[in-house]
Symmetry: C2
Subunit: 97 residues, 2 copies
């Protein structure tokens, strides 16, 4: 899995308006109605992570979920990160599909 260039990442991010690229990773923050809704989304995301064998750096405070994606072995952002970002979007904002 090859590290993508900053240009490639910015081009791909046009399809991912919730995500930003900095510090060699892509980042997003999602807000839910409450903790239960937030953790339910996290559970669904956790299954995707296992299926893709790719795992985020993520934090939660009550109804807010912060996610950073990068590919450790490649030293930056790869297509694996965008695959997981897409899976996350489908879980978090299915209406925007």
């Amino acid at each position: 899995m090859k590290k993508l260039s900053a240009d490639d990442i910015e081009k791909k991010l046009l399809r991912f308006p919730d995500w930003e690229y900095y510090d060699n990773a892509i980042h997003a923050e999602f807000e839910f109605d409450n903790f239960k809704d937030c953790f339910s989304a996290m559970s669904r995301i956790a299954f995707e992570c296992e299926a893709l064998n790719h795992h985020p750096e993520w934090s939660n405070v009550y109804n807010v979920l912060t996610i950073s994606l990068s590919t450790h072995d490649a030293g930056g952002v790869t297509n694996k990160d965008f695959k997981l970002a897409e899976a996350i979007e489908n879980i978090v904002e299915p209406d925007e599909e």
Copy 2:
């Protein structure tokens, strides 16, 4: 729920060797065998949080879970935080009971 003094917190922490007090909160880091084990513990902790109506600031990277507890309304650490810390310990390290 009253904010505990630093002295009270340090005394209580004698029973919680995994936890440290700084930045007006108590903090712990737990390591698991893998992501699945880590997220399973997080799920069990999430149910306790809902039951206690008290929620952590927590982060996960693969097999590592970092948790910070404080009581926002009290502006510091209260007995609520120790109640949740105890519930977390019972989930994460049941053998140490």
